[in-house]
């Protein structure tokens, strides 16, 4: 019997890899609080940890483990920490766009285009390169979001939670052959809900992610993890950063795992012969 899961098994990963792993970092500095109208002071200062400690801790972990990844940076944080953002790029990582003030609310339609362009231009100014990918800060999009991003030259979005594999992004209501959706499940493969709603300990989070990885490795081979270098809801502090540190060698014990930047993965998925553009089900196509 045909099912959506089996019908997409004819894909292949770069270099004959069995599984790709993307350890993505959402910068999420003080702009998160500022955007909500809060003074980022006292208990609301956890975003400041990203720039002071968390980002460099992640860079160190990646360097020790020879991993290149993708950092999503809100425009506000890039403006405030341009040297740090350039250091991320100089370390071999990719910068993706992530709103200006981490807008986690619904942005009015007429403000959305200018906002996306503003954040885009800040990243271009700071890094000297145009970002090719975007992740919705609060997990929301409008029908025109990807159209605007496509016009700005973006080739991937990493915001949806409706599938276990990349699939053609829906741009102007149609599956695109120029833009790919790289889904990120933020219910279980994101640090924030686990540490906040779940009040989980680092050991519990590590066990869960390893369990997720093991299953995904044997299933479709697409492991997309999202974490934050902040204190508070993130993984920046030593106890929680150690989860990332311990996760990587545990993943490496599996054969054929390839760590990737999202831009590289997007370019791979957009080549028709690799099997991501011809899904037999109309994934996400209904609006």
């Amino acid at each position: 019997m045909d099912s959506g899961v089996q019908s997409t098994r004819n894909h292949r990963w770069p270099g004959g890899a069995r599984c790709v792993a993307m350890l993505t970092v959402d910068f999420d500095g003080t702009g998160n609080e500022v955007g909500q109208g809060f003074d980022p002071a006292g208990i609301r200062s956890a975003g400041g940890y990203s720039a002071r400690r968390g980002i460099r801790r992640m860079l160190d972990i990646f360097e020790r483990n020879d991993i290149r990844s993708t950092f999503f940076v809100p425009g506000f944080d890039a403006e405030n920490h341009p040297d740090l953002v350039r250091e991320i790029v100089a370390s071999g990582h990719e910068i993706g766009a992530h709103g200006y003030l981490h807008e986690r609310w619904e942005v009015p339609v007429d403000e959305e285009g200018p906002l996306l362009k503003k954040a885009h231009e800040i990243l271009v100014d700071v890094t000297g390169e145009a970002p090719v990918g975007w992740r919705s800060p609060g997990g929301m999009k409008s029908a025109q979001t990807l159209k605007v991003l496509r016009e700005l030259g973006y080739i991937f979005d990493s915001s949806d939670k409706d599938f276990d594999l990349p699939y053609p992004a829906i741009v102007s209501g149609e599956p695109s052959r120029e833009m790919i959706e790289l889904p990120n499940n933020t219910s279980s493969l994101d640090d924030t809900p686990l540490y906040v709603e779940g009040a989980a300990t680092p050991d519990e989070v590590l066990a869960l992610w390893l369990d997720e990885f093991d299953t995904i490795y044997h299933e479709g081979g697409y492991f997309m993890l999202t974490f934050h270098p902040r204190a508070g809801f993130g993984s920046g502090i030593p106890s929680r950063a150690s989860v990332i540190e311990r996760l990587i060698p545990a993943i490496r014990r599996y054969s054929g795992v390839r760590f990737m930047r999202l831009g590289d993965l997007a370019r791979w998925c957009l080549q028709p012969e690799n099997g991501f553009l011809d899904t037999t089900r109309r994934i996400g196509a209904r609006t």
Partner: protein, 275 residues
């Protein structure tokens, strides 16, 4: 129960595996069609991935289930809903847009049920035999309304270990198949517990119900957030179902068949309560 149970043929325990479909209707209830992206796409994960995965598992284990499907989702995903039926499962009612029935007047409840039945008629050509309250929320009148609309069972209350008969003021009867959050996936995943914890919790629930000869009413959701649709979580479901299948004298059935048996004239051990 002195070593004897109410079940037929010397069965020790009855088990129903139920699936609250809860597709895009859950998000659509609050957001327009064009907004069902990103954080509002977990329902679609269920229709694209979770439900096919659950169906494959049920096939592998040869288990027939009852899917409670909101009428809006029946119209949204007609092919998938017909596939659920064609693979041997029962489809029952679950609101139209996953409404909170505790906030609806009796008249409004009646109208929502009627609208949902239209969807069942159009896509499946049937009237649903049973119903489960979305969010578990309803009013004291709801079961009488269901009985008047010829529903044979409800599966929403959590006030007994066994099925029972509800007799309405009009003398109509409807079977209740009690259901508990402790045997649901969403209760744990909403709090971001791990599949390992959930599997252990379910195991304790099942073994305890088995010992007293009760009804084990398991509730799954195909959704990508609070449900069991993710591959790692479906492993927890599979382990539980295999454990259940390893126990002797378990009657594994659908809600429709269980309620038909409970309503049967030959069975005098089912208790009757006023609505």
């Amino acid at each position: 129960m002195n070593g004897r149970t109410i079940w037929q043929d010397g069965r020790q325990c009855a088990v129903v595996v139920t699936v609250n479909y809860d597709g895009e209707s859950v998000e659509r209830r609050e957001w327009p069609d064009g907004a069902l992206w990103g954080r509002y796409s977990y329902g679609r994960y269920g229709t694209q991935t979770g439900t096919p995965r659950i169906l494959d598992l049920l096939d592998r284990l040869q288990i027939r289930s009852t899917f409670f499907v909101p009428g809006w989702d029946v119209e949204r995903d007609p092919d998938l809903v017909r596939e659920i039926r064609d693979r041997g499962h029962e489809i029952a009612g679950h609101g139209f847009l996953h409404e909170d029935f505790s906030m609806l007047s009796p008249d409004q409840q009646d109208q929502v049920l009627a609208r949902s039945e239209e969807a069942f008629d159009k896509v499946l050509g049937i009237r649903p035999a049973g119903w489960r309250a979305p969010h578990g929320l309803m009013t004291s009148e709801t079961r009488a309304i269901l009985a008047a609309r010829a529903y044979r069972y409800d599966s929403s209350y959590c006030d007994d270990d066994l099925p029972y008969v509800v007799e309405t003021e009009n003398g109509e009867r409807i079977i209740e198949l009690p259901v508990f959050q402790t045997a649901s996936d969403s209760h744990y995943y909403r709090l971001r517990r791990s599949p390992d914890v959930v599997q252990r919790a379910w195991r304790t629930e099942f073994i305890s119900v088995y010992r007293i000869g009760g009804l084990f009413n398991l509730t799954l959701h195909p959704r990508g957030d609070v449900g069991s649709g993710r591959a790692v979580r479906l492993r927890a479901v599979e382990e539980l179902l295999r454990l259940i299948q390893s126990y002797p004298n378990v009657w594994m059935t659908t809600c429709g068949e269980l309620s038909a048996w409970a309503a049967g004239a030959g069975n005098n051990q089912i208790e009757t309560w006023p609505a």
